[in-house]
Protein backbone atom coordinates (compact mmCIF):
# COMPACT_ATOMS: atom_id res chain seq x y z
CA UNK A 1 0.00 0.00 0.00
CA UNK A 2 1.08 3.53 -0.65
CA UNK A 3 2.30 5.42 2.37
CA UNK A 4 4.30 8.46 3.39
CA UNK A 5 6.37 8.76 6.55
CA UNK A 6 7.69 11.95 8.05
CA UNK A 7 9.91 10.73 10.88
CA UNK A 8 10.18 14.07 12.69
CA UNK A 9 7.03 15.30 14.41
CA UNK A 10 8.60 18.55 15.60
CA UNK A 11 11.84 20.32 14.67
CA UNK A 12 13.30 23.52 16.11
CA UNK A 13 15.96 25.48 14.25
CA UNK A 14 17.55 28.84 14.80
CA UNK A 15 16.79 31.66 12.42
CA UNK A 16 19.42 31.71 9.68
CA UNK A 17 20.30 28.04 10.11
CA UNK A 18 19.79 25.47 7.40
CA UNK A 19 16.79 23.15 7.39
CA UNK A 20 16.11 19.63 6.18
CA UNK A 21 12.75 17.92 6.65
CA UNK A 22 12.65 14.23 5.94
CA UNK A 23 10.08 12.35 3.89
CA UNK A 24 10.06 8.66 2.95
CA UNK A 25 7.45 7.10 0.71
CA UNK A 26 6.28 3.67 -0.29
CA UNK A 27 4.88 3.44 -3.79
CA UNK A 28 5.14 0.78 -6.47
CA UNK A 29 5.65 2.92 -9.53
CA UNK A 30 7.39 6.24 -10.15
CA UNK A 31 5.82 8.48 -7.56
CA UNK A 32 4.38 11.92 -7.88
CA UNK A 33 5.64 13.81 -4.84
CA UNK A 34 4.54 17.03 -3.20
CA UNK A 35 5.46 19.26 -0.29
CA UNK A 36 2.79 21.51 1.22
CA UNK A 37 3.05 24.07 4.00
CA UNK A 38 0.31 25.05 6.46
CA UNK A 39 0.82 28.32 8.28
CA UNK A 40 -1.12 28.81 11.52
CA UNK A 41 -4.83 29.24 10.89
CA UNK A 42 -4.52 28.75 7.16
CA UNK A 43 -5.06 26.07 4.55
CA UNK A 44 -2.27 24.19 2.83
CA UNK A 45 -0.14 25.82 0.16
CA UNK A 46 1.97 23.95 -2.38
CA UNK A 47 5.72 24.49 -1.99
CA UNK A 48 6.91 22.25 -4.81
CA UNK A 49 6.22 19.03 -6.64
CA UNK A 50 8.10 16.35 -8.56
CA UNK A 51 6.84 13.97 -11.19
CA UNK A 52 9.69 13.57 -13.68
CA UNK A 53 12.98 15.01 -14.91
CA UNK A 54 15.58 16.69 -12.75
CA UNK A 55 15.55 15.13 -9.31
CA UNK A 56 16.33 18.45 -7.60
CA UNK A 57 13.19 20.56 -7.58
CA UNK A 58 12.99 24.24 -6.77
CA UNK A 59 9.93 25.64 -5.08
CA UNK A 60 8.55 28.84 -3.67
CA UNK A 61 9.93 30.72 -0.67
CA UNK A 62 13.48 29.46 -1.29
CA UNK A 63 12.71 25.78 -0.67
CA UNK A 64 14.05 22.86 -2.67
CA UNK A 65 13.65 19.10 -2.50
CA UNK A 66 15.60 16.18 -3.87
CA UNK A 67 14.06 12.95 -5.10
CA UNK A 68 16.23 9.92 -4.33
CA UNK A 69 14.72 6.77 -5.76
CA UNK A 70 17.31 4.47 -4.12
CA UNK A 71 16.36 5.79 -0.68
CA UNK A 72 12.63 6.29 -1.38
CA UNK A 73 13.05 9.81 -0.07
CA UNK A 74 11.98 13.32 -0.98
CA UNK A 75 13.57 15.58 1.62
CA UNK A 76 12.81 19.29 1.80
CA UNK A 77 15.64 21.77 2.32
CA UNK A 78 16.21 25.45 2.83
CA UNK A 79 19.66 27.00 3.26
CA UNK A 80 18.63 29.76 5.66
CA UNK A 81 15.42 29.68 7.68
CA UNK A 82 13.37 32.81 8.39
CA UNK A 83 11.04 33.27 11.35
CA UNK A 84 8.10 33.32 8.92
CA UNK A 85 8.89 29.72 7.93
CA UNK A 86 7.46 28.47 11.23
CA UNK A 87 4.58 26.26 10.13
CA UNK A 88 3.57 22.65 9.63
CA UNK A 89 4.97 20.88 6.59
CA UNK A 90 3.36 17.96 4.83
CA UNK A 91 4.86 15.57 2.32
CA UNK A 92 2.45 13.73 0.02
CA UNK A 93 2.51 11.14 -2.72
CA UNK A 94 -0.04 11.23 -5.52
CA UNK A 95 -1.47 8.15 -7.16
CA UNK A 96 -2.52 7.81 -10.79
CA UNK A 97 -6.12 8.54 -9.88
CA UNK A 98 -5.36 11.97 -8.46
CA UNK A 99 -5.56 11.08 -4.79
CA UNK A 100 -2.96 12.45 -2.40
CA UNK A 101 -1.64 10.38 0.49
CA UNK A 102 -0.19 12.66 3.14
CA UNK A 103 2.44 12.10 5.77
CA UNK A 104 1.82 12.89 9.41
CA UNK A 105 3.33 16.34 9.15
CA UNK A 106 6.39 18.02 10.69
CA UNK A 107 5.93 21.10 12.81
CA UNK A 108 8.76 23.60 12.43
CA UNK A 109 9.59 26.11 15.15
CA UNK A 110 12.14 28.87 14.53
CA UNK A 111 14.21 30.31 17.39
CA UNK A 112 15.24 33.95 17.18
Amino acid sequence: AQSVTQPDIHITVSEGASLELRCNYSYGATPYLFWYVQSPGQGLQLLLKYFSGDTLVQGIKGFEAEFKRSQSSFNLRKPSVHWSDAAEYFCAVGDRGGKLIFGQGTELSVKP
Partner: protein, 115 residues
Protein backbone atom coordinates in the same frame (compact mmCIF):
# COMPACT_ATOMS: atom_id res chain seq x y z
CA UNK B 1 -5.57 33.76 -7.46
CA UNK B 2 -7.46 30.58 -6.81
CA UNK B 3 -9.83 30.97 -3.95
CA UNK B 4 -11.38 28.11 -2.03
CA UNK B 5 -13.76 29.23 0.68
CA UNK B 6 -15.40 27.23 3.42
CA UNK B 7 -18.63 28.34 5.01
CA UNK B 8 -17.45 28.37 8.63
CA UNK B 9 -14.08 28.57 10.36
CA UNK B 10 -15.47 27.16 13.62
CA UNK B 11 -18.55 25.06 14.23
CA UNK B 12 -19.95 23.47 17.37
CA UNK B 13 -22.64 20.82 17.06
CA UNK B 14 -24.31 18.25 19.27
CA UNK B 15 -24.15 14.49 18.92
CA UNK B 16 -26.78 13.22 16.50
CA UNK B 17 -27.19 16.49 14.62
CA UNK B 18 -27.00 16.59 10.84
CA UNK B 19 -24.09 18.82 9.84
CA UNK B 20 -23.39 20.48 6.50
CA UNK B 21 -19.95 21.80 5.59
CA UNK B 22 -19.89 23.90 2.45
CA UNK B 23 -16.99 24.56 0.10
CA UNK B 24 -16.91 26.88 -2.90
CA UNK B 25 -14.13 27.40 -5.45
CA UNK B 26 -14.01 30.24 -7.95
CA UNK B 27 -11.60 28.87 -10.58
CA UNK B 28 -13.84 26.54 -12.56
CA UNK B 29 -11.89 23.52 -11.28
CA UNK B 30 -13.08 20.06 -12.23
CA UNK B 31 -11.99 18.21 -9.10
CA UNK B 32 -12.90 18.82 -5.49
CA UNK B 33 -11.85 17.01 -2.32
CA UNK B 34 -12.74 16.76 1.36
CA UNK B 35 -10.09 15.85 3.94
CA UNK B 36 -10.02 15.65 7.68
CA UNK B 37 -6.88 16.65 9.56
CA UNK B 38 -6.02 15.18 12.94
CA UNK B 39 -2.81 15.64 14.96
CA UNK B 40 -0.30 12.90 14.24
CA UNK B 41 -2.37 11.52 11.37
CA UNK B 42 -1.88 14.19 8.73
CA UNK B 43 -4.68 14.64 6.20
CA UNK B 44 -6.96 11.79 5.25
CA UNK B 45 -9.22 11.83 2.21
CA UNK B 46 -12.93 11.44 2.92
CA UNK B 47 -14.53 11.91 -0.51
CA UNK B 48 -13.68 13.49 -3.83
CA UNK B 49 -15.49 14.44 -7.01
CA UNK B 50 -14.29 14.57 -10.60
CA UNK B 51 -17.39 16.20 -12.00
CA UNK B 52 -20.79 17.53 -11.10
CA UNK B 53 -22.98 14.86 -9.54
CA UNK B 54 -20.06 12.43 -9.41
CA UNK B 55 -18.38 11.29 -6.22
CA UNK B 56 -15.78 8.77 -5.17
CA UNK B 57 -15.02 7.39 -1.73
CA UNK B 58 -11.69 8.23 -0.24
CA UNK B 59 -9.92 6.42 2.57
CA UNK B 60 -12.34 7.20 5.42
CA UNK B 61 -15.87 7.72 4.02
CA UNK B 62 -17.77 6.05 6.86
CA UNK B 63 -20.21 8.41 8.56
CA UNK B 64 -19.99 10.99 5.78
CA UNK B 65 -21.70 11.76 2.50
CA UNK B 66 -21.17 14.46 -0.12
CA UNK B 67 -23.11 16.44 -2.67
CA UNK B 68 -21.96 18.24 -5.80
CA UNK B 69 -24.91 19.79 -7.59
CA UNK B 70 -22.92 22.63 -9.12
CA UNK B 71 -19.34 22.64 -10.37
CA UNK B 72 -18.15 25.26 -7.91
CA UNK B 73 -19.72 23.82 -4.78
CA UNK B 74 -18.93 20.63 -2.86
CA UNK B 75 -20.72 19.86 0.38
CA UNK B 76 -19.73 17.42 3.10
CA UNK B 77 -22.58 16.01 5.17
CA UNK B 78 -22.37 14.34 8.55
CA UNK B 79 -25.68 12.48 8.71
CA UNK B 80 -25.55 12.02 12.49
CA UNK B 81 -22.59 13.74 14.07
CA UNK B 82 -20.57 11.82 16.63
CA UNK B 83 -17.82 12.95 18.99
CA UNK B 84 -15.18 11.06 17.00
CA UNK B 85 -15.90 13.36 14.08
CA UNK B 86 -14.50 16.30 16.00
CA UNK B 87 -11.71 17.43 13.70
CA UNK B 88 -10.43 20.01 11.24
CA UNK B 89 -12.03 19.62 7.82
CA UNK B 90 -10.24 20.88 4.73
CA UNK B 91 -11.67 21.31 1.28
CA UNK B 92 -9.50 21.41 -1.84
CA UNK B 93 -9.91 21.78 -5.58
CA UNK B 94 -7.71 21.07 -8.59
CA UNK B 95 -8.00 22.01 -12.25
CA UNK B 96 -8.43 18.52 -13.72
CA UNK B 97 -5.87 19.08 -16.47
CA UNK B 98 -3.65 16.19 -15.37
CA UNK B 99 -5.28 14.50 -12.46
CA UNK B 100 -2.16 12.90 -11.02
CA UNK B 101 0.07 15.95 -11.02
CA UNK B 102 -2.44 18.78 -10.59
CA UNK B 103 -1.84 21.12 -7.71
CA UNK B 104 -4.58 20.98 -5.12
CA UNK B 105 -5.67 24.33 -3.70
CA UNK B 106 -6.94 24.28 -0.14
CA UNK B 107 -9.46 26.28 1.80
CA UNK B 108 -8.71 27.60 5.31
CA UNK B 109 -10.50 24.73 7.03
CA UNK B 110 -13.47 24.31 9.34
CA UNK B 111 -12.76 23.25 12.90
CA UNK B 112 -15.75 21.16 13.95
CA UNK B 113 -16.42 20.25 17.55
CA UNK B 114 -19.12 17.69 18.31
CA UNK B 115 -20.31 17.71 21.93
Amino acid sequence: DVKVTQSSRYLVKRTGEKVFLECVQDMDHENMFWYRQDPGLGLRLIYFSYDVKMKEKGDIPEGYSVSREKKERFSLILESASTNQTSMYLCASSPGLAISTDTQYFGPGTRLTVL
